[in-house]
């Protein structure tokens, strides 16, 4: 077992924000960075995770409200339908207010790491928290798609009266809604691909570059609660990434193609995509920290590696370190080190 594989095994433990695993991984990452000559800065921010039932309750309420409103539209007419929509909106607002009032409060901690005397022009970024869900990311994406399909289908109820046709029309939305009802965060996924392998990849990239290469590291927290760490960084420390290039890694599997999602293009992100043999694209099926960070940067890209089978295990208990050889991580680290080694001037710190 290589040193990187051992490290992956240590990092790939359930680590939802505020859990013991989360604290242990935070400490372990600081040690690894310090070993590489980095000074670690803490960036603390509040995290108010939604309650366990908040996601399902919201999904269920929204779906029921839409179906009810559209279903009664025909019976009550336009004004009745609008009234139901308004009541629904008020109910949703109340639910959000109640959720905020009863939110659990935890502390998120971004790790900002720099080498002394380096003028950082490139930041390597990965989130270090994990979360489990009763359903994989693939399942969630399918559910969201069906639920989205359910809204126009339910709208078609307005023009049909046949019960069988009506059932077929609302079925996707109901299935999608049922899937989304499972959308709650647990501390049950070890998160090997999402995102321990990216943490290892970043450390492996640093190991391939000369120590004086002026690269900073951001290990962000609470991504799984809506990219809260990235949002806090942009709010409190935009000065760090302003004018710099951000390379965000999120999900590095052994198998599948490497993808470069370019949030803000430029010469360095182009060189990174070329070195990884990846096609640079703009569309992204999921939310990642890079989307939040990009507006504050000069260039920004998110690198992912995997396929539909990767999506099928992300956020499940099956996302374990044993299923990874780190072959994909090695390829990405080698490509990144090549691109950064050629492009980042270790004396000036500018790409």
């Amino acid at each position: 077992m290589s040193a990187y594989a051992r490290l992956l095994a240590e990092l790939a433990v359930p680590r939802l924000v505020g859990s013991p695993g989360h604290a242990a991984v935070y400490q372990r990452l600081r040690e690894e960075l310090a070993k590489r000559g980095y000074v670690n800065l803490e960036h603390e921010f509040p995290v108010h995770p939604p309650g366990a039932l908040a996601g399902p309750a919201t999904a269920g309420a929204v779906l029921a409200w839409v179906c009810l409103a559209l279903g009664l539209w025909r019976t009550l007419g336009v004004s009745g339908g609008l009234l139901i929509l308004l009541v629904g909106l008020a109910g949703l607002g109340l639910a959000i207010a109640l959720r905020a009032a009863h939110a659990d409060s935890r502390t998120g901690m971004n790790i900002i790491a720099v080498r002394p005397r380096a003028q950082v022009a490139v930041w390597l970024v990965a989130h270090y928290d994990s979360k489990g869900q009763p359903m994989s990311m693939l399942g969630r994406l399918v559910g969201a798609g069906l639920a989205a399909l359910g809204v126009p289908s339910a709208a078609a109820l307005v023009v049909t009266a046949h019960p069988l046709v009506a059932l077929v029309l609302v079925l996707p939305g109901i299935i999608g809604g049922l899937v989304l009802l499972q959308n709650r965060a647990t501390n049950r996924s070890p998160g090997a691909v999402d995102n321990a392998s990216a943490l290892v990849t970043i450390l492996a990239t640093l190991d391939r570059l000369p120590p004086q290469t002026p690269i900073g590291v951001l290990f962000l927290d609470a991504e799984e609660y809506g990219m809260l760490g990235a949002r806090a960084l942009v709010r409190d420390r935009a000065n760090l990434i302003r004018g710099a290039t951000v390379i965000n890694l999120d999900g590095i599997d052994d198998r599948g193609p490497t993808r470069c999602f370019v949030h803000r293009p430029g010469p360095l992100t182009g060189a990174v995509a070329a070195a990884l043999g990846a096609r640079a694209t703009r569309a992204l099926p999921v939310f990642v920290d890079g989307l939040v960070l990009a507006p504050a940067t000069a260039e920004c890209v998110t690198i992912m590696r995997g396929d539909w089978r990767t999506a099928a295990i992300v956020h499940t208990r099956a996302d374990r370190p044993e299923r990874l050889t780190l072959g994909g991580s090695e390829l990405v680290a080698a490509g990144l080190a090549r691109a950064l080694g050629e492009r980042v001037d270790s004396t000036s710190g500018r790409p």
């Binding site: 000074v39 720099v114 002394p116 003028q119 420390r237 935009a238 760090l240 302003r242």
Partner: protein, 292 residues
């Protein structure tokens, strides 16, 4: 991490204290930061000499740096004074400053044992701070308060080994400023005297960290802007008005700057003991200098 973009007119914002309790008045500090930034300052220094660094606790410095980061947009610079009487303390303050989001630190040499500090000892102090610093380090030459004059040759050595991003010179001596500029061709050099701002710009300095910018920020900025657009006539005319204001700083120190701020409509606040407010006679003199 981003030292190169710190340039222009930087205001070393004073730390206002409550006149009765001597606690830091963070609300007034916030208002002053907003006011100098709105007046065009390109950045601020927190807990510099004018910020009464020497009488602040580490916790107060942390809080001031955090407030500074909150108020200063990413496009402008935040520098925190983190020099101390020991290397260990300076390293700790530097880490605190970086943790709270400083773009760079301004490190004065130790003063109490100043006479005992050999060139090697001073070099060791700056190397040790820089080697532990996550942000660029600027040396701060202010012999008036520290009793230590930093030799340009020492700073050149530190810069060559990558330990120094630049220097702020508050000696008020244009020949010293010129020597720093020659010794640090690739680093940032800031002047600390408003009377020398135009001279500094002509020497190729990156700007001024000027206590005068706390009570006359627009005038400082006018010199900078005129010079930047190549209008030397206007720059000279503005400098002629600006130069005399330096006397407020050199003659009266932080109490004078705070009094001038009050006169100019900012919130100077009280100084922390043992510094005391200006006498009525001195206050009149400050008013005269400001033309108030």
């Amino acid at each position: 991490m981003t030292a190169r973009r710190i340039a222009g007119v930087v205001a070393p914002v004073p730390t206002p204290f409550d006149s009765r309790t001597e606690d830091v008045d963070f609300a007034a500090f916030r208002r002053n930061v907003v006011a100098v930034l709105e007046a065009g300052a390109d950045g601020i220094v927190v807990a510099g000499s004018t910020g009464e660094n020497a009488v602040l606790t580490p916790e107060e410095l942390r809080e001031l740096a955090a407030v500074g980061r909150e108020m200063v947009p990413a496009s402008r610079g935040l520098v925190v004074g983190s020099g101390a009487e020991s290397t260990r303390a300076a390293r700790a303050l530097t880490h605190i400053a970086a943790e709270e989001g400083a773009d760079a630190v301004l490190v004065r040499p130790p003063g109490y044992f100043g006479r005992e500090l050999t060139r090697d000892a001073l070099g060791g102090y700056y190397r040790a701070v820089a080697e532990a610093s996550p942000v660029p380090v600027f040396a701060y030459n202010i012999p008036r308060y520290t009793g230590v004059a930093l030799a340009p040759e020492l700073l050149a050595e530190l810069a060559a080994s990558g330990h120094l991003a630049g220097v702020k010179d508050s000696s008020g001596d244009v020949s010293a400023l010129s020597a720093y500029r020659r010794a640090l061709p690739g680093q940032s050099v800031f002047v600390g005297s408003a009377a020398l701002l135009l001279a500094a710009l002509e020497l190729g300095c990156q700007g001024g960290i000027l206590a005068v910018a706390c009570f006359a920020p627009r005038l400082c900025k006018a010199v900078w802007d005129a010079f930047a657009r190549g209008d030397l006539g206007a720059a000279t005319a503005h400098e002629a008005r600006l130069g005399p204001l330096q006397e407020v700083v050199t003659r009266y120190g932080p109490p004078g700057v705070k009094a001038a701020m009050e006169i100019a409509g900012f919130e100077g606040g009280a100084c922390r003991s043992p510094l005391v407010p200006l006498t009525a006679r001195d206050l009149d003199h400050v008013r005269q200098l400001l033309g108030a």
